[in-house]
């Protein structure tokens, strides 16, 4: 045990600490050693900071379109101006390519637009309550939505960076809402199944087996397409989370059931039973605390699958619909291969998806290993 949670302190002292540490402390010490998991966690924290403060990190209105600025390439920031740290971008001027007559944008090297961190831009409400106009990035002496394009623009001339910030908010929260729903279903059904056993267990297990042997994407597509076309963005958002979690709870139920079955045989449960504890008290006071860490691990590992599901559905145009912005909605623009070849920056949201999914997997693996010292 002691060597598993080797701490900087030497020998005896460390052992003493281990002996008195709570279960959560032991888990934290083990988790800390898992470098990939810690890295994944940090990345996720960054993602959720962006999700919470999306309007702070976005410097332009994500819906403001302008056909004049359609499909502009990402614009590099120049950090050093005349030997000093003073970030700026060149202003862009649109011209026609004399050969193809395509509209192209060339940097106008005579005009520099300075960039300020935490500068003033469009007014918005931070966290929905605090009115402010400070943004992470802002330009001085010009409108950000007309001069700053860190990741280029989409086909309608909307700024991809700002849209990506808002998309992160949608996609990262849809995972949480949906996993919360799946968790409720999974814990209740898995718990009932594992604790009571018998016929109920058989029925629930068969339902899980059936659900798992159905190809999910066609089913989701069918259900999502059946949503009324006149529903609002919020209604569709919740409908999609419900559809995804209705089928996604099975894995969580499986984990919970397995834990219940193995814990039911433990001495402390029998002791509680002999002391005359009620069923509810045995389950919630004695059993749940000892496997809650496993549930957390399973939950973390379930989120990436949900994020991918939402992205796939929205990518097909059956999930969230514009004006909602999510990673899947952004990737819809990348569906057209010809457009993608001309403007590869449309694929940038794909990397957000992959990084987020990887980070969740790393963190989930770390928690799982930390939760189970016997593995």
């Amino acid at each position: 045990m002691a060597e598993l949670v080797a701490t900087p302190e030497a020998g005896g002292q460390a052992e003493e600490r281990v002996a008195v540490a709570t279960q959560w402390q032991l888990m934290w010490w083990r988790f800390r050693k898992h470098k990939l998991a810690v890295g994944g966690t940090l990345v996720l924290i960054a993602f959720y900071v962006v999700a919470i403060f999306a309007d702070f990190f976005a410097y332009a209105d994500p819906q403001e379109s302008d056909a004049q600025r359609s499909l502009m390439a990402p614009q590099p920031i120049h950090w050093i101006d005349e030997g000093r740290f003073r970030p700026y971008v060149y202003a862009l001027k649109g011209t026609r390519d004399p050969l193809t007559f395509k509209r192209v944008y060339v940097p106008d090297t005579t005009r520099k637009i300075p960039i300020a961190f935490f500068g003033r831009g469009e007014p918005y409400e931070l966290l929905g309550v605090i009115p402010t106009d400070r943004h992470f990035l802002a330009v001085e002496g010009a409108s950000a939505s007309q001069s700053l394009f860190l990741m280029g623009t989409d086909i309608l001339g909307r700024d991809l960076w700002s849209r990506l910030m808002y998309a992160t908010r949608t996609s990262m929260t849809i995972g949480l809402v949906s996993v919360a729903l799946s968790l409720v279903l999974g814990v209740v059904l898995g718990g009932v199944s594992g604790y009571f056993g018998g016929i109920i267990d058989t029925v629930i297990q068969r339902i899980i087996e059936i659900l798992r042997s159905i190809p999910t994407i066609p089913l989701w597509m069918g259900l999502a397409a059946a949503l009324p076309a006149d529903w609002s963005v919020v209604q569709v958002y919740f409908a999609i989370t419900i559809i995804i979690s209705l089928i996604g709870w099975t894995e969580l139920a499986r984990v919970v059931r397995g834990r219940f079955i193995s814990l039911k045989e433990e001495d402390f449960v029998m002791a509680a039973e002999l002391l005359g504890c009620s069923k509810a008290r045995i389950i919630f006071r004695h059993m749940v605390p000892s496997f809650i860490s496993h549930i957390i691990a399973a939950t973390t590992l379930a989120i990436p699958a949900i994020i991918i599901s939402e992205t796939s559905l929205s990518f097909l145009g059956l999930g969230l619909r514009p004006p909602a912005i999510s990673w899947g909605v952004l990737l819809q623009d990348a569906q057209n291969i010809q457009a993608l070849v001309i403007s590869p920056w449309l694929l940038i949201p794909a990397f957000s998806v992959i990084v987020a999914v990887l980070a969740f997997n790393f963190m989930g693996d770390g928690i799982r290993d930390a939760a189970d010292p016997y593995l």
Partner: protein, 329 residues
Amino acid sequence: MISYIVRRLLLAVLTIWAISVLSFMIIHLPPGDYVTSYIASMSASGSAVSEGEATALREQLGLDKPITVQYAKWMGLMLQGNFGMAMEWGRPVSDVIGDRLTLTMVISVAAILFTWALALPIGIYSAVYPYSFLDYVFTFVGFIGLAFPGFLLALIVMYVGFAWFGANVGGLFSPDFIEAPWSIAKMWDLTKHLPIPAVVLGVAGTAQLIRIMRSNLLDELRKPYVMTARARGLSEYRVIMRYPVRVALNPFVSTIGYLLPYIVSGSIIVSLVLSLPTVGPLLLKALIAQDMFLAGTIVLLLGVMTVIGTFISDLLLMWVDPRIRLGRQ
């Protein structure tokens, strides 16, 4: 053995029933019924449907009856192989789906074969040489593979094909063969086009299987009988392949039951990106046109095919694993 087969068969029938209910739900969820959308699609193409015709059609299809009767009637039609008309196409559903369903299954099976062919040797290697350089490389690649949704991988493959090689890597046939009747040459053409979709679809599953195989075999290799075999001077190849791999293979085979639905599911969306002539693009089109009859039928048939595939893999498992064959669970 018999009881195992019967149990699996019962479960398969139950699953098919559940899928049929869900498909029926998909058909009936949107407002309006088949006839309203039929009228809409007919008037869009210029020909009107009279009130009398509509009522007659409703009666013929039993749409005026309670929902349970409708379901029974629909199931009856399905069992007879009468899948109704695909409105947009003006042809029977079975005509529209036929080849595409077969191709969906061909691609899925190819993806599974690829998954196995790659996961088995890599899994064995990683378990025999754990924490070696290559093991770390495979683990890392596996993690990335898990994180890549199939359709994104397909997008990137298409992009690379277009931007760097100037070639369209999508599709399942060369242009000459698309309309051609089935022949040896067309089969060969299909075989040449299969690897890209199979790889794109199989990557995530491969990553998962490598991890399963590695941990199973690692557990097995630590057991005393392996040491005994070594002590007796068996060749390393025999020590590993003869028993531990066979035992570790068992959970490997049983995962096919989960792998198939997963891959079929992924093939739908990957097909759209790679423009493969499977049921995927058809399903999407049907859903967008609100042709729920066609969509429901596709979901149903896809589900049924998957269940049959899973059942076959169960039989395969029985053949591989004597413990199941001899009746002990």
